[in-house]
Amino acid sequence: MKREVPLIISMAAGIFVLIGFFVPHPLVRTGYDKIQQWVIVVVAFTYVLGMANLMKLNLDQIQRRAKDWPYKIALVVACLATMAVGFQNGSHYLDDGTGFTWIYNTFYSAMSSTMFSLLAFFIASAAFRAFRVRTVEALLLAIAAFILMLGRVPIGSLIHPVLPQAADWLMEVPQNAAKRGILMGAALGVMATGFRIILGIERTYGSEGGS
């Protein structure tokens, strides 16, 4: 039963959503919208489980004095403090001037931007590896990147007026063709995955679960 019930629910929901895509009639669409609302309710409950997992794992590591345990204290304290401030602000916790917004803008946004800015360095190191010409494919990649980069900066047109046009052609023709091919393949993959779940032949996600 533990395996069959989730499979039946998945199949029924999958079939209903598939029908709802083609049928705009309110009799179907109302049910379709209801399922979307149920998803929100279910996801809201999973936050309780997620928070419980976060607290349990970190408090456990603090208690055991596991490696880097002081960082876990920082995480737990920051998490609880943010929640407390958010609850204190009530339903207006996202308004300007609230303590929650201050924490978000002062701490989270700054740290998030710092992480994002690291991308510039990672791109540089990855590009260095990518452009080491060892194979014919790498050579083609390097030539294409060279033309594209020169074509997209002002000095490119000064070197040769054809460079911006060549860059545009690379983006619009070979790049677009490859991208659309990948997207079409992925779309078929999405459909095949959906059918496998709806037909109940994809059961990997529905194991007995520890029974």
Binding site: L54, F116, A186, Y205
Partner: protein, 369 residues
């Protein structure tokens, strides 16, 4: 009709005008859930600044429902329209000018559609695809086997787990940053089930940091189920799957920290990735882990190709479950994918040919926008 005309005259204070009016067409808005009527008109040469849209239902006077720009030539009325009730419309210019008033439209009745004909092309392809899937599944059940080209990235998953086992290190499984309602995350959970069976079999530590509580809940069940399926439920630990955060870069910081502290031998990045793809993959490269990535997000593929040892591109990613499980029926669905792909290639080639000779019918039929 007579009473309707009198109602119009009385309520708007108009006398029948000899000025030439322009026709106003009202009809049910197609392919919707009802309660909407579409109006269209060819405006006079010098349209007014605005039109007032008047509406009347049987036995009731015309009343304004909305004011629209004089430049518009169409309007959809969704102001408390009842299905099954016939409505008539008229446009009155603002400022009023008898010469610019439209005709009274013929009565239009809103009704809900049972099929969205605008999606007929999608329906046909979906129906053909479903029929092929069912056909090939049936073939597989009768013992038919097919040969598929080996996908290096999928073969490497088991090798990577084996390598981790030999090195006495763990496997880090990153399911992307999207929630469980994303099909890529669902596909990732399916692959995770296969990976969990392998790590259970080899007794390799598995670490699955998740970006959403819903993904955490599903991933935990999937991993537990994988260990149970191979009879190693005793080896399952509740800290194998952990919830990190829904915030994108906070998640990256946490996962990169896990990589640098725990130094897993294998990183499996399978799911929907965005700007964080290279941040994760480069950190994994720095620690010397064997990295296998898979995503259908085209813009992130170059980053993975550069930074990872193997990359599953688009459809390869969705085929992973069938390849890894080697279930004949799942492989049958792959055969259906390949067959529909041939159908689409032929259709595209035919469409190109027809467009070249000026026939747009096929291309327009398959247009989705």
């Amino acid at each position: 009709m007579k009473s309707a005309a009198w109602v119009l005259v009385l309520t708007l204070g108009l006398l029948p005008s000899l000025a030439p009016a322009f026709p106003l067409v009202a009809k049910d808005t197609p392919n919707d859930g009802g309660a909407r009527i579409s109006l269209s008109w060819t405006p006079p040469p010098k349209p007014p600044a605005e039109w007032i849209v008047y509406r009347a239902e049987p036995g009731k006077p015309f009343a304004p429902v909305d004011t629209v720009s004089g430049e518009l030539t169409a309007f959809t009325d969704d102001h408390a329209v009842r299905n099954g009730t016939p409505y008539q419309y008229r446009l009155i210019p603002l400022p009023d000018d008898a010469a610019l008033r439209s005709d009274v439209s013929s009565a239009a009745t809103a009704q809900a559609s049972w099929f969205d004909t605008g999606k007929l092309n999608v329906f046909i392809v979906t129906a053909i695809f479903l029929a092929l899937v069912l056909y090939y599944i049936r073939q597989a059940e009768r013992g038919k086997a097919w040969n598929f080209r080996p996908i290096a990235g999928l073969t490497a998953i088991e090798e990577a787990i084996g390598r981790s086992t030999e090195m006495g290190k763990g496997v880090l499984y990153i399911p992307g940053v999207q929630d469980i309602d994303d099909i890529q995350t669902i596909a990732s959970m399916i692959i995770l089930g296969n990976v969990a069976r392998m790590t259970a079999k080899y007794d390799t530590p598995l670490n699955v940091p998740t970006p959403s509580p819903a993904v955490y809940t599903v991933a935990d069940e999937v991993v537990k189920g994988g260990y149970s399926d191979v009879g190693r439920v005793d080896a399952y630990r509740s800290d194998m799957v952990r919830y990190i955060t829904t915030e994108q870069f906070a998640y990256v910081a946490a996962v990169n920290g896990i990589m640098l502290r725990e130094r897993p031998a294998a990183n499996l990045l399978l799911g929907a990735f965005f700007a964080e793809s290279l941040l994760l993959a480069e950190t994994g490269h720095e620690i010397g882990a064997i990295q296998i990535a898979g995503t259908a997000n085209v813009h992130q593929l170059p980053f993975f190709v550069v930074a990872c040892d193997y990359t599953l591109i688009g459809e390869e990613y969705y085929a992973a479950s069938a390849y890894l499980s080697k279930d004949a029926r799942l492989l049958g669905s792959l055969k259906a994918s390949d067959t529909i792909k041939i159908f689409l290639v032929i259709t595209i080639a035919l469409g190109c040919l027809l467009l070249t000779i000026g026939q747009r019918g096929l291309a327009e039929f398959f247009a989705t926008q």
